[in-house]
């Protein structure tokens, strides 16, 4: 930090923490006051290994209703942003049009078809 000079040991620890967070663990960035600044908007994490995405897990009742985000959205976690050949077709190389018929994941997910590689 340039404007605040850490004096005691706790301040040094805070400084370390802050610069670690700034050296881009994007998932930790926080949006403030309306998010119209890209620099302070939460980034979309690249790769599912650094976030907890429930993916194709089920909730405690064996269904998907209780997952922490719509299960349909998980599709896109893997489809759009992940290079890794996962359980869904990949957008980057082989199936760029796979979700063309799906304008809104929560409504149109039934229109997404199977693929046969």
């Amino acid at each position: 930090m340039k404007n605040l000079r850490a004096i005691n040991r706790k301040a040094h620890a805070i400084e370390e923490y802050v610069s670690a967070a700034q050296d881009d663990v994007v998932a930790l960035q926080q949006g403030r006051g309306g998010n119209n600044n890209p620099a302070t908007r939460p980034h979309y994490p690249v790769g599912c290994s650094i976030v907890f995405s429930p993916g194709w897990e089920v909730d405690s009742a064996g269904g998907t209703a209780g997952l922490c985000q719509p299960a349909e959205r998980d599709l896109y976690d893997c489809y759009i942003s992940c290079f890794w050949p996962a359980q869904v077709p990949d957008h980057l190389n082989n199936y760029p049009d796979w979700t063309k018929k799906c304008a809104s994941a929560t409504k149109d997910w039934k229109d997404i078809d199977l693929v046969f590689p």
Partner: protein, 481 residues
């Protein structure tokens, strides 16, 4: 660092601002981080203190700085939690891990004393002890059980500490000697380090005892209230005769012959004995103590020796004078014996932010002659505060109750106080004596605590600016009370 050009409105978070050595500082709450502010960050805090501002408003109000510099300073202030947006920060209170391992054991070897100091919390009108029907002296079996219990419940700690206490500790010196040997062997067997200390009124010191203490590197704290006329005001034998003439030569001998650990004096300030400067000079210059600590007497406000608010102000004034002398000496790289300052600065330097005022019932327990476990030495022999027995260990429910009460989270009065990282509501025992509840904040001395902490922050800041090397002394210093 990214500039914070967003529409958020910023306002100050919690901190205490102070000036030292011509520079501006903040002491952040609750993290207890100390930062020096540069000019622009100081100006931002000035503006935010008056009204909330967005980043752009701030840049407009501070045309003398490039907007980028303002945004950058703003971002740093935000990231270190000196300022916040309306959402604030969510910082849930932290609970200590369950079964926090012990670090210190206080063994009250006896509840008997050969003096009758009138303010004593163990015998005086504020006593909470219920010693009837309990042993007056700890026996060997209880002592070994206590040490065994301590070693069991401190699993995982590499260095341990045992303090001997009383009553008058040296009235049970034969047991002390055996416990030192027993515990030493046990520590060696487990590959752990162990050190000892004791508190005494010095009346029973003999050349043999002094030699033993020195050879075994046992730290000694002597309770003494200053020169003869002051010490003898309240520190008297049961006949009413003062204790000074007996202890002065013994203390001199102790200081001359025991060099393996620092020897400290501990002074209890009362309405009758409150001339801090005179006491300090006597204890350091005439008797030769290297460390002198002062504490106002613990008592309900009605007692004759209780220091009233105006008396406390006078004491703080004298503390200030002595503390500034400490500062001057520290700037010159010299050790000063006023340990109230070094204790507080050690905590400030570490950035201690306490969930509880002290280690009582957490990393520290007291054990009395009966083998009952209590939160600390001051609760020994008090049935309502017993937390278990050395034969079967700590009663976890009682411990949890004590710690929940004492947690800063349950002290609502403290939640808006900037001094809470160091104070956390103050001594559980004092709270019980004053308010009948160990979890009650000690609201009668808030002004004192805040005044004192502010002064020590200023001294700390000045040392950090003008002689930062001196602070290395506090890197290793233990802050456990």
């Amino acid at each position: 660092m990214s500039a914070a050009v967003d529409s958020a409105v910023y306002r100050p978070a919690e901190f205490h601002r102070f000036e030292a050595g011509g520079r501006q500082f903040v002491y952040l709450v609750p993290s207890a981080g100390v930062f020096e502010l540069n000019e622009v960050s100081g100006r931002i805090l000035d503006l935010l203190a008056a009204a909330p501002h967005s980043a752009e408003m701030l840049a407009e109000r501070l045309p003398q700085y490039a907007p980028r510099d303002v945004f950058e300073a703003l971002e740093e202030l935000y990231q270190s939690h000196a300022i916040q947006t309306p959402e604030g920060f969510h910082e849930p209170p932290q609970q200590p891990p369950p079964q926090f391992p012990l670090q210190s054991l206080v063994l009250n070897l006896t509840n008997q004393c050969n003096l009758s100091c009138q303010y004593c919390y163990e015998f005086g009108e504020d006593k909470i002890a219920t010693p009837d029907g309990k042993p007056k002296f700890m026996d060997w079996e209880t002592a070994t059980q206590a040490v065994d219990y301590f070693f069991r419940d401190s699993a995982g700690r590499r260095s341990l500490h045992i303090t001997f206490f009383g009553g008058e500790t040296l009235m049970n010196f034969p047991l002390l000697k055996r416990v030192v040997e027993y515990a030493r062997n046990k520590a060696a067997g487990e590959g752990r380090s162990l050190d000892f200390s004791l508190t005494t009124n010095a009346t029973l010191l003999t050349p043999q005892i002094i030699q033993f203490l020195s050879e075994n590197q046992i730290g000694v704290t002597v309770s003494i209230d200053g020169p003869k006329e002051m010490n003898d005001a309240l520190r008297v034998f049961s006949t009413g005769k003062g204790s000074y003439d007996i202890i002065a030569p013994k203390v001199k001998q102790l200081l001359a012959e025991h060099k393996t650990r620092p020897i400290a004096a501990r002074v209890t300030l009362t309405a009758q004995v409150a001339d801090v400067l005179k006491i300090f000079r006597h204890l350091t210059e005439e008797l030769g103590f290297q460390e002198v600590g002062f504490a106002p007497v613990t008592t309900s406000s009605k007692a004759l020796y209780s220091i009233g608010p105006s008396g406390l102000d006078r004491v703080l004034e004298q503390f200030r004078e002595l503390a500034l002398e400490y500062r001057d000496w520290a700037l010159a790289g010299r050790h000063h014996a006023f340990s109230n300052v070094s204790d507080t600065i050690a905590e400030i330097h570490q950035g201690v932010s306490k969930s509880h005022p002290c280690g009582a019932g957490l990393g520290l327990v007291g054990v009395g002659p009966s083998g009952d476990i209590s939160p600390c030495h001051r609760f020994v022999d008090s049935d309502p505060h017993t937390l278990g027995h050395v034969s079967h260990g700590m009663d976890r429910d009682k411990q949890a109750d004590f710690l929940t009460r004492g947690h800063i989270h349950s002290k609502y009065d403290c939640h808006s106080c900037w001094a809470r990282p160091v104070c956390a509501g103050g001594c559980h025992h004092e709270a019980f004596v004053r308010y009948g509840d160990t979890g009650h904040p000690n609201l009668h001395y808030c002004d004192w605590i805040r005044g004192w902490t502010d002064l020590c922050l200023q001294i700390y800041g000045e040392i950090a600016v003008r002689n930062p090397e001196f602070l290395a002394h506090f890197d290793r210093r233990k802050t456990l009370q």
